[in-house]
Amino acid sequence: MLRYEWLSGLILLLVFWTLSLVPGRASAEPLTPWEKARAETFAKLGEVPKPDAPTKIGTVLVTLSNPFWVSMKEGYENAAREFGVTIDVQAAPQENSVANQLNILENMVAKDYDALCAHTITAQNLIPAFVKAARKGIPVVSDNRVDLPAAREAGADPITLGLVDFYGQGRLGAEYIARALSEQGGGKVAIIEGLPGAPQSEARTRGAKDAFAAFPDVEMVSSQPGNWDRAKAFSVTQNLIQAHPDLAGIQCANDIMALAAVEAIEAAGKSGRIMVVGIDLIPQGKEAIREGRLAGSVAFSPFVIGETVARAAIAAAQGLKIPGDLEVVSVLATKDNIDQLADWK
């Protein structure tokens, strides 16, 4: 009789195990912040029909040496799978390879893609390629970093999606630092910018400066370019710590530089005494926030941007209109909410 009990127990176990393999949500689990942000962004774009004819899209990113752009590439690849189109993704070797990026896009224009996506390094460097694409009637989807008046004057007409509120990001991160410091009586802060002249760098810096200016007991002592580069940001931070030993907070224009700043702070033996906030929430940044080394990062999903721009390009290739003021959602990631952002990419 005992044998039969063991057997029935085993069978019950097997049945439950099989049931658990059934895909889909058995109960209404809440969407993670990432899934919510993704769904919201797609809703703004509207329904994009799957193309009937084989469609080829070309994309040029900035550089794959920054995980931010690698994540965006994955977003593009995901969209390609979902919609059954071919998306060729290329990138320049470095963050500042302006001529190289132009060469790549020009070569892509010559390949007769149905639509092109371009994430420009500076406001101007891809305009000659946009002009060539316009002459051939190839729609180009880019973002609002492009100098649209200059592009139109040269004869190009790229579709510029709003995509990211860079000013708002700089402001969001800096306000977090300023508020935290203000509660403790104020303090000195600094800004590490990106590549001077690059639109997102300029906008984020302005946002940070405005945010700091709004708090009278917070004094901004320095704003220096870090060129999106680890080594540069490391030495800039070292110099800042030397020049201002009572520095209490640094707003960095991206995570790569923020992480380098954190390294410099730890190397100087000042860990925990200077708040550092970055932007991008790259995987390394997530780790650093969890470990308490990085105070926060303004997250906006490069994966979702990739998918969104890809969808916009697929729509444009089919001749559909695209809303220009499309913006992806940004979220401030800190120690408090980092666990909910595990799937943020």
Binding site: L64, Q90, V98, N107, A123, Q124, N125, P128, P196
Partner: protein, 328 residues
């Protein structure tokens, strides 16, 4: 004296025709390979892009060839490109006519080259060291003058130099070809060019033959930097932006083209045609690899491998003629 100098011309400065044919064949082979791999490559639109994208490299590499012929090297061409582009841009922003601004930009390049030449000729410091130092100085002056921010927005006529077309050919390609022709004529058929090659081949013998060694050296570096300035102006016109980070790494690309072209670093000989072919090979590789969708970091690997192969082929050719690549 005249006979000795005439003998110099004949003996020095005729690179092996076979070597240049080899480069041409390799270029043609590459073009055929890419055409087979992608139907987009052989179209005129794309080939025109190759010329457009190689133009700056060609101009700078031709200048480098002249200096190498004189047994020198110029590592400061990137800084010269950036600074002369900024000079031109700044003057245009100050309402100068673009033609005058352009000439001023070239003159600034010449001045920088003269500095290099004087360091080498008058102070007697090795050109590698002089130009390494001035590379940093010129780049720093460019950064300081612009506060690291780019200058942009130039008149259409100026921009046409970089992105315009003359008939079917891109303007920048025409400028590059004209500059190559000019460089070839100077090095092969002018007294100055002959003197430069003589200095490169055997400075002491040249001195004893009455060649003005110091003046020639200053002159050749001035010429090289003027070419680099022209390159900087083309880049500024093409991107409609002048920035302090322009031309980073161009010195290595130029040297690669010179080496592939077969000009020896021991000095004394020069093949502008070889350099032109070398630069076109590199430009074709970069373009073709993008067309067949190879990621950028693989491109650098391929170009590096091709470069080593070309150097090896050149060395084997020379060895078969009982010449060593770096004879002193």
């Amino acid at each position: 004296m005249q006979d000795a100098q005439a003998g110099f011309v004949k003996r020095v400065g005729r690179l092996n025709r076979h070597q240049r044919m080899g480069l041409l064949a390799f270029l043609a082979g590459l073009a055929i390979l890419f055409s087979l791999l992608s139907p987009h490559f052989p179209r005129w639109e794309n080939l025109s892009n190759v010329l457009l994208q190689s133009a700056v490299q060609i101009v700078v590499a031709v200048g480098m060839t002249l200096v190498v012929a004189a047994r020198g090297i110029d590592l400061s061409v990137g800084g010269v490109m950036a600074l002369s582009g900024i000079v031109t841009a700044g003057l245009m922003k100050a309402q100068w006519a673009w033609g005058l601004a352009l000439l001023a930009g070239l003159a600034s390049g010449a001045a920088m080259g003269a500095l290099n030449g004087m360091g080498v000729a008058l102070l007697g410091i090795h050109p590698f060291i002089v130009t390494l130092g001035t590379a940093g100085i010129f780049r720093a002056v460019a950064l300081i003058a612009t506060n690291a921010r780019p200058i942009y927005g130039f008149p259409l006529c100026f921009r046409a130099l970089g992105s315009g077309h003359w008939g079917p050919l891109p303007s920048s390609a025409l400028i590059a070809l004209a500059a190559s022709g000019f460089g070839a004529v100077v090095i092969a058929w002018t007294r100055f060019g002959t003197n430069a090659r003589a200095v490169g081949d055997h400075p002491e013998a040249a001195y004893r033959l009455g060649v003005p060694v110091e003046r020639t050296r200053i002159g050749i570096y001035t010429l090289c930097s003027t070419f680099a300035a022209l390159g900087g102006i083309i880049v500024t016109a093409r991107l409609n932006t002048a920035e302090a980070i322009a031309g980073m790494g161009i010195e290595l690309e130029a040297i690669a083209a010179v080496v592939m072209g077969g000009t020896s670093f021991a000095g004394g000989e020069a093949s502008v045609l070889g350099t032109l072919l070398g630069a076109l090979i590199i430009g074709t590789l970069a373009n073709g690899l993008t067309i067949i969708n190879v990621p950028t970091y693989y491109q650098q690997l391929v170009i590096g491998v091709v470069f080593m192969a070309a150097v090896l082929a050149d060395r084997l050719r020379r060895r078969s003629q009982h010449n060593d690549l770096f004879e002193t």
